[in-house]
């Protein structure tokens, strides 16, 4: 029988079907960060003898509040750090870490066909490599740390074909914001999306990571792109040797006549830059309807848009320019490597000379934890992934957009069409 890509991954990782429609899957990789893992670590220590099923299948790090902002977050860091050392788990500490969804691919952990979980909803990002990657809660994480298995319902499948060619000034972020507006915030709940079509084929891996990152905002469990030449290019550019890439590329494709529960197609040649206007990520308008909206802060960063290509496009727009004194621009590379690269390429200098605060990596203000949280009545133009009420600070408003739109917005202190300044 013909199978979709995710069906092949589920079948190949099947440990058990405890009841109808439930798959117990072998986990290839468990990623652990300091916000959602310590509770599992302490519970395992208390009840199950500090067990870990296989330390080599776990990667741990600090990313949400980096470095610690107070004693409470310092203790979270200590718990996961001590556990990693005790269990001989690979650990990325302050100084070599980054936002987990950006660090994981960059450090070469992700392969097509893998199953990856993390106590974080944006784990779906790694689907860009043709892996099944999904966010889970702490209890799922705890069970997986103990036994190496994770439970999912048999996914409904959705193929999304992206037709046409993106015009200048339109990026991966605009694509996914548009898709969420079309699917709705629960339009893909319990579905795994497989992306295809010329726009995905043309898109580099950093763009695909942005697209897959936000599928959860439409409710999807995961979003996958099939491994291809662009995947290989990413590995090469990051010095990651994948000896069996041709086998992986061949193995982890959907069958040609695979049947999907939903088959959607979107023509995007006429797509304009997209900006959110409301309180959930499906409330999206074209830039022309949003220009002129005053903002107090611009935030460029996060697991969605804190990679080097994002910083490059923002720097290109800000080079030699000054932001208005009335606003703040906060630029947060997603990993230490990206930060270093931005310094080496002179991007950091461009940002700082333009008037930006340029920091090391952290999830920080994206979820209102640190490093640029808003106060009542403030408006932020942000390259992050959520505009829920109070997401970046109680009473604050968030407009989601691409790094190009955010940089253009920073130039004028109001939402600005990036096509005018690129």
């Amino acid at each position: 029988m013909s199978r979709t890509l995710v069906q092949k991954i589920f079948d190949s990782h099947l440990v058990d079907k405890p009841s109808l429609g439930i798959y117990a899957l072998k986990t290839d990789l468990i990623m652990c960060h300091e916000i959602t893992t310590p509770q599992a670590i302490l519970d395992i220590k208390e009840k199950w003898g500090d067990k870990v099923f296989n330390p080599s299948k776990i990667v741990a790090l600090i990313d949400h509040v980096n470095p610690a902002k107070d004693s409470a977050t310092a203790l979270q860091g200590k718990v996961i750090r001590d556990w990693s050392h005790r269990q001989e788990i690979e650990f990325y500490d302050v100084g070599c870490n980054g936002v987990c969804h950006a660090l994981l691919p960059e450090q070469g952990y992700v392969r097509p066909g893998m199953t990856i979980i993390c106590g974080d909803s944006h784990t779906c990002t790694a689907g860009a490599f043709g892996a099944f990657a999904a966010g889970v809660g702490t209890t799922d994480l705890e069970a997986a740390i103990l036994k190496g298995i994770v439970f999912f319902r048999e996914p409904k499948t959705m193929r999304i074909q992206l037709e046409g060619k993106l015009s200048k000034g339109v990026f991966a972020k605009d694509v996914i914001l548009h898709l969420i507006s079309q699917l709705g915030v629960k339009g893909a709940t319990d579905h795994v999306i497989e992306f295809c079509g010329p726009i995905i084929k043309d898109m580099d891996m950093e763009g695909r990571l942005t697209v897959c990152n936000m599928v959860v905002e439409a409710g999807a469990t995961s979003g996958l792109c099939c491994p291809d030449e662009k995947t290989l290019t990413y590995y090469k550019e990051h010095g990651i040797t994948v000896y069996d890439f041709e086998i992986l590329r061949h193995t982890w494709q959907p069958d040609e006549n695979a049947v999907y529960d939903q088959d959607r197609s979107f023509g995007l040649s006429l797509l304009e830059p997209q900006v959110t206007f409301g309180n959930n990520p499906s409330e999206v308008k074209s830039i022309s309807e949003m220009v002129g909206t005053k903002i107090n802060q611009v935030y460029i960063g996060s697991c969605t848009n804190g990679r080097i290509s994002d910083l490059r496009i923002a720097a290109r727009i800000l080079k030699g320019e000054q932001i208005p004194k009335s606003i703040r621009l906060i630029v947060v590379p997603a990993t230490t490597e990206i930060q270093l690269q931005a310094i080496r390429e002179g991007l950091a200098e461009i940002f700082i000379e333009a008037g930006a605060f340029f920091s090391g990596p952290t999830c920080g203000a994206c979820l209102g934890m640190s490093n640029g949280v808003l106060t009542e009545g403030e408006v932020c133009a942000s390259t992050t992934n959520r505009n829920f009420p109070g997401r970046m600070g109680k009473g604050g408003t968030v407009h989601l957009m691409s790094p190009a739109t955010a940089a253009a917005t920073a130039l004028y202190g109001e939402i600005t069409d990036p096509r005018e300044v690129i």
Partner: protein, 176 residues
């Protein structure tokens, strides 16, 4: 959880309640699952909403609209509900991670149709009996205790087993 549970209902007439609104990020800095109940729904600007009022304080069953628990995977949202005494959330739909987090903690996430949820809000039913044996919900109001409304609901066998066995970790250790 027991095979039947009876409790007061709290009606939260909103859709797309994300986990940031259930428990704000500023309370994610702990290392245990305890003590989050006091901060449940703290940033929710809902007219007339006061978590100190008795109707909320004693409620063990929450009824909300569609896409409840969307957004962040933070299980803190479930722990906050649990800590403040909630055993079940009834909504017309849930986000996947939140829904599973509820079952994984041995709590109930029950889906009814949008029309059935509407009926609960319209009638302002304040009491509910959840029966996992007959798979039915029975609602009634304080004013008219003799008039009861019963409807059936469904759970995946797996999720029901997790609820009856007290959550996922015990289940996994026992069976795998």
């Amino acid at each position: 959880m027991e095979i039947t549970t009876k409790g007061q209902v709290y009606l939260l007439d909103r859709l797309n309640i994300d986990t940031d609104q259930i428990i704000s990020a500023k309370y994610l800095t702990g290392i245990t699952m305890n003590g989050l109940g006091l901060n449940l729904f703290e940033d929710l600007d809902l007219p007339g909403f006061d978590r100190k009022e008795p109707a909320f304080k004693e409620a063990t069953i929450l009824v909300a609209r569609e896409n409840f628990g969307c957004g962040s995977s933070r299980e803190h949202a479930v722990w906050a509900l649990e800590d403040s005494g909630f055993q079940a959330v009834i909504a017309s739909s849930f986000a996947r991670i939140f829904r599973q987090n509820m079952f994984n903690r041995g709590l109930l996430a029950i889906e009814l149709s949008a029309e059935q949820i509407d009926e609960i809000f319209v009638n302002k039913w304040k009491n509910c009996l959840i029966d996992l044996k007959t798979m039915t919900l029975t609602f009634w109001s304080d004013e008219n205790r003799s008039e009861k409304k019963t409807c059936s609901f469904q759970l995946a066998d797996f999720d029901k087993q997790l609820v009856l066995e007290g959550g996922l970790v015990g289940f996994v250790v026992k069976h795998y």
